[in-house]
C-alpha cells in the first residue's frame, strides 16, 4: 500500500522506509558550500554569506521513489586552518559534495585534491559529487564545463554545475546523490520512528478490515 502511494506523494509522508545518510561538503573557502546547503535546506540565498565558523550541521529530507532519504549534512569551513579537522567530518560519510567556483581555476584544483583525499581516506563506497558552483556567473567562467565533466567521468563522480543564487541544479545534485546511495537495511535508521502519517494510514487500513 505504502509502496504504491509513495510516488504520488512528493513530500514523502506515506513512505515507511527511511534511510539516513551522512553527507559532507568540502571545497575551498568562498566557493559557496554554505550557500548551496542554505538553498537546499531553507530555500534561502544571502548575497553576502559570511564565512562558516568550524562546521555547520543541518538536516534535510528528500524523497526518492519509495524511500525517504534523510541527509545529515556537515557544511565544513573551507579555510586552510580547518583542513586538519576534515577527516572528522568525512569519516563514516556515505556521500560528499566537493564544491568549486566556476570562476576560479584555483578552487577547481583544490577540489581535485579533496577528491583524491576522499578516495584515499574516506569509506570506499562513498558517493562523491562534484559541483561547479556560481554557474550564474558563467560570463566570468575560468573552469570549462567540458574540463570538469571529463575529470568527473574519469573519477566516476556525479557532476553538475550549480548556482545557489538562482537555485539551478541545487536540489538536483542532492537528489542525484540520494538516488545513487544504496538503500539497503543497513542505512535504515532504527532510531527514527516510522513516520506518523504512514503509521496512521496502516492503522486506518487495518481498521477497515474489521
Amino acid at each position: 500500500m505504502a509502496n504504491r502511494s509513495g510516488p504520488q506523494r512528493p513530500n514523502g509522508t506515506a513512505q515507511a522506509k527511511i534511510c539516513q545518510f551522512k553527507l559532507v561538503l568540502l571545497g575551498e573557502s568562498a566557493v559557496g558550500k554554505s550557500s548551496l546547503v542554505l538553498r537546499f535546506v531553507k530555500g534561502q540565498f544571502h548575497e553576502f554569506q559570511e564565512s562558516t565558523i568550524g562546521a555547520a550541521f543541518l538536516t534535510q529530507t528528500v524523497c526518492v521513489d519509495d524511500t525517504t532519504v534523510k541527509f545529515e549534512i556537515w557544511d565544513t569551513a573551507g579555510q586552510e586552518r580547518y583542513h586538519s579537522l576534515a577527516p572528522m567530518y568525512y569519516r563514516g560519510a556515505q556521500a560528499a559534495i566537493v564544491v568549486y567556483d566556476v570562476t576560479n581555476q584555483d578552487t577547481f584544483g583544490r577540489a581535485k585534491t579533496w577528491v583524491k583525499e576522499l578516495q584515499r581516506q574516506a569509506s570506499p563506497n562513498i558517493v562523491i559529487a562534484l559541483a561547479g558552483n556560481k554557474a550564474d556567473l558563467a560570463n566570468k567562467r575560468s573552469v570549462e564545463l567540458e574540463e570538469a565533466q571529463a575529470y568527473a567521468e574519469e573519477n566516476q563522480l556525479l557532476f553538475m554545475e550549480t548556482s545557489a543564487k538562482t537555485a539551478k541544479n541545487v536540489n538536483e545534485v542532492f537528489l542525484a546523490i540520494a538516488k545513487k546511495l544504496p538503500k539497503n537495511d543497513q542505512n535504515v535508521n532504527p532510531s527514527v520512528p516510522v513516520n506518523i502519517t504512514a503509521w496512521l494510514t496502516i492503522c486506518v487500513l487495518r481498521a477497515g478490515h474489521f
Binding site: 573557502s29 554554505s34 546547503v37 542554505l38 531553507k42 554569506q49 559570511e50 564565512s51 562558516t52 565558523i53 568550524g54 562546521a55 555547520a56 550541521f57 543541518l58 557544511d75 569551513a77 579555510q79 586552510e80 586552518r81 579537522l85 572528522m88
Partner: protein, 585 residues
C-alpha cells in the same frame, strides 16, 4: 614644585580634581638631553604645524608641560637600564591580561629619539600638532632619555625616506586618513597580517616602517612601547613572532591601546592556538599568517568595536541580563540537569545581547572575563550561527593557550535571541551535545523559562532600569563594576548618547579618566571632570568601581551623593544583576 611633593598631595586628597592648569610646569633635569627635531627635517610636509607646541610628560600622578620647537615626536620604550625600580611593571601587568607576557618588557622608561626621521614620517602621516611624551609610569623613577641617534639608525633612515613616497600614495585617501583609530598586525619579518582600515596589501610599506621601528629599538636591546605626538599615540606590542600596533588620534591612553591590542592578540590565538602560531613562524619566518586567519578578520573588526563601546569588556568584567534570581536559577538548573552526565564538558554558556543569562562550569574551572568576551564577540559577529547548529574549535587563552576547546553553538529557537554554547575538550562529542541541547530546550519550554527569557530580552531596557524612578534623573549614564565578582552593571545608552559617535565620545572620556586613575600611584579614588557636554565622575572604592556621566551643571557634592544612592540601589538589586551561586556541571 618637585614631583614627589605633588604625588603626596594627591595621595592625601581622595576627592582631588585634576585641573591641568593648576599643575605647575615642571622641567626635570633629565630632559635637558632631549634633542629637538629640526624643523627643516620636515619642511616638505604641508601639514606641518607652524605654531610652537608643547611636549607633555605624563605620569599617573603628575603632568608636566613645557614648550618645544614645533616639530617633535617622542618615543617611549622599555629600556633595560640598570638601577631602575621595577615597581612600574607591576602596575602595568595588573591591568593587562597576561602579566607573564608583559614581564618580558622589563622596566618601562622613556627614550626619546627625537632626531630620527622614521618618527618624523609617522608624524606627518598622522597629522600631529603638538608633541607629547608619556612615561608609562611613575615619572620620577622612569623617565630616562637618550637622544643620540645611533649609526645603524641613520642608515635605516635613508631607506625609509625612499619608501616614504610610495607609502604616501597608498595611504593618501581621505577615508583612510580620516579614521581616528587604527590597528595593525604584522609578523616580526614585516609581513602584513591585519589592518583595521584599508587593505593590508596597499599598506605594505607602512607595515615595513612599523617593523623597522620595532627592530631599530630591538637592536639596542630595548623594546618599543609607544610614540606620542600631540593627541596622537602609536602603541606597539611585540608578542613573539607577532607585532601589534595601535594608532589613535583620540587622546587614548597607552593602557587602553595596550588592552585593545591584547584582545586582538587573544583573538588571533583563539582562532589558531599559540602553539600553531609559534610553530609556524619557527618553520617559516616569512609566513603569511593571513592564509590561516582567512575569514576571521571580521571577528577582529567586531572585537575592536566591541572593546570600545561594550561596558563589560571596557571594564574587563562580566554582565548578566537582569532577571529575578529565581528565573535565572530555573534556567541554570535546566542546563545543569541536561549536561551533568556529560564527561569532558567544561562550560555551558547561555548568552543574549552581549550579556550572560547563565554560565555553568565544571568544578575547578573558572571562566576569565576576557575569554568570555571572545565568546560573546564570536556570537555577536557571526550571523551565520543562526542558520544551523555549529561545531567549532575555539581556543580560550586563559583556559589553555595551546589547545582547542570544541564548541557546540546553537540558538535556543528560531524566534529566541538566546544562544547556547556547550564547550568540551572532546572533539567527537557533537551529537551528544546536540542531544543535550534538545533536552535543554524542552525543559526551558516546559518550565516557561523560554517565554520568560523572550520577554526579558524584548522589553525595552528603559523599563528595567529607570534612573528617573530613583530620583536620579541627572545621571545620564553609568557603568558599575563589583570588584569582587567582576560583574558589570550599566545603564542603556539613551540620548544624548544614542548614536555611535556620541557613545564613542563618552566612552573615550570614561577610558581616559579610568586609565589615569587605575594607573595612579598612589591611588586616586575620585576624579570629577567637567566639560560643556557633561561631567564625568570616576570613583574607585575597595568594593566597586563606577563611571558616571551627569548633567554638566551638577556640583561635585551633589554628583557624589547621587552616586552613593545609585550604588546602594545597584547593591540592593544585586540578585537581579548577579549570579547568586555558580552552577556546576
Amino acid at each position: 614644585m618637585p614631583v614627589g611633593e605633588l604625588t603626596s598631595t594627591l595621595a592625601n586628597a581622595p576627592g582631588y580634581e585634576i585641573d591641568p592648569s593648576r599643575v605647575p610646569a615642571v622641567t626635570p633635569a633629565e630632559i635637558s638631553t632631549e634633542v629637538p627635531l629640526k624643523s627643516s627635517d620636515l619642511g616638505n610636509s604641508a601639514e606641518l604645524p607652524t605654531e610652537a607646541t608643547s611636549l607633555e610628560i605624563k605620569s599617573c600622578s603628575s603632568s608636566a608641560t613645557f614648550t618645544m620647537p614645533a616639530a617633535d615626536v617622542s618615543l617611549v620604550t622599555s629600556s633595560v637600564l640598570p638601577g631602575l625600580g621595577s615597581s612600574s611593571i607591576n602596575a602595568l601587568s595588573a591591568n593587562t591580561e597576561e602579566p607573564s607576557e608583559l614581564s618580558e618588557s622589563n622596566t618601562p622608561s622613556a627614550v626619546g629619539m627625537n632626531g630620527d626621521d622614521e618618527s618624523g614620517s609617522h608624524k606627518d602621516n598622522f597629522e600631529g600638532r603638538g608633541c607629547e611624551r608619556a612615561a608609562l609610569n611613575d615619572f620620577k623613577a622612569n623617565v630616562i632619555i637618550e637622544a643620540e641617534p645611533k649609526a645603524s639608525e641613520s642608515n635605516q633612515e635613508k631607506d625609509l625616506v625612499v619608501e616614504e613616497s610610495d607609502l604616501r600614495d597608498s595611504i593618501e585617501t581621505e577615508a583612510w586618513r580620516g579614521e581616528q583609530r587604527h590597528v595593525f598586525v604584522l609578523s616580526s619579518s614585516g609581513k602584513p597580517v591585519y589592518s583595521r582600515h584599508g587593505s593590508e596589501d596597499k599598506l605594505v610599506t607602512l607595515f615595513g616602517v612599523m617593523q623597522a621601528l620595532v627592530s631599530i629599538v630591538e637592536d639596542s636591546d630595548d623594546k618599543i612601547e609607544s610614540i606620542h605626538f600631540g593627541k596622537n599615540v602609536i602603541v606597539f606590542q611585540v608578542r613573539g613572532p607577532i607585532i601589534l600596533v595601535a594608532v589613535s588620534k583620540k587622546n587614548d591612553s597607552v593602557l587602553f591601546c595596550n588592552n585593545q591590542l591584547t584582545y586582538v592578540y587573544n583573538q588571533i590565538v583563539s582562532v589558531l592556538t599559540l602553539k600553531t602560531v609559534t610553530s609556524i613562524f619557527e618553520r617559516r619566518q616569512n609566513y603569511d599568517l593571513r592564509r590561516l586567519l582567512a575569514g576571521s578578520e571580521r571577528l577582529i573588526d567586531h572585537l575592536l568595536q566591541f572593546y570600545e563601546t561594550e561596558p563589560s569588556i571596557f571594564m574587563n568584567g562580566i554582565s548578566y541580563i537582569p532577571m529575578p534570581s529565581a528565573h535565572r536559577e530555573s534556567v541554570s538548573s535546566a542546563i545543569v540537569s541536561a549536561c551533568s552526565k556529560i564527561k569532558n564538558l567544561v562550560y555551558a554558556v547561555l548568552v543574549a545581547n552581549n550579556k550572560l543569562i547563565s554560565l555553568a562550569r565544571k568544578r575547578g574551572y573558572s571562566m576569565s572575563p576576557s575569554d568570555l568576551h571572545l565568546i560573546l564577540n564570536m556570537v555577536a559577529a557571526s550571523e551565520s550561527l543562526k542558520t544551523a547548529e555549529s561545531w567549532t574549535p575555539i581556543c580560550l587563552p586563559n583556559f589553555n593557550i595551546d589547545g582547542f576547546l570544541y564548541a557546540h553553538v546553537s540558538y535556543m529557537a528560531d524566534d529566541c535571541p538566546a544562544c547556547l554554547l556547550l564547550l568540551t575538550v572532546d572533539q567527537e562529542q557533537f551529537f551528544q551535545l546536540s542531544e543535550a541541547k534538545m533536552k535543554i530546550t524542552e525543559k526551558l519550554v516546559k518550565n516557561k523559562s523560554m517565554t520568560f527569557i523572550n520577554e526579558v530580552l524584548k522589553a525595552p531596557p528603559s523599563l528595567w532600569m529607570s534612573l528617573h524612578a530613583l530620583g536620579l534623573s541627572k545621571i545620564r549614564h553609568f557603568i558599575y563594576k563589583c570588584r569582587k565578582t567582576s560583574i558589570v552593571v550599566s545603564s542603556p545608552l539613551s540620548p544624548p548618547y544614542s548614536t555611535t559617535e556620541e557613545a564613542n565620545a563618552l566612552f573615550t572620556k570614561y577610558q581616559t579618566l579610568y586609565s589615569s586613575m587605575i594607573h595612579s600611584n598612589p591611588q586616586i579614588h575620585t576624579l570629577f571632570q567637567t566639560s560643556a557636554e557633561e561631567s564625568v565622575v570616576c570613583l574607585l572604592t575597595e568594593k566597586y568601581e563606577i563611571l558616571v556621566a551627569v548633567e554638566p551643571m551638577v556640583k561635585k557634592q551633589l554628583a557624589l551623593d547621587m552616586i552613593t544612592k545609585l550604588c546602594q540601589w545597584v547593591q540592593s538589586e544585586e540578585d537581579r544583576f548577579f549570579l547568586s551561586s555558580v552552577p556546576y556541571l
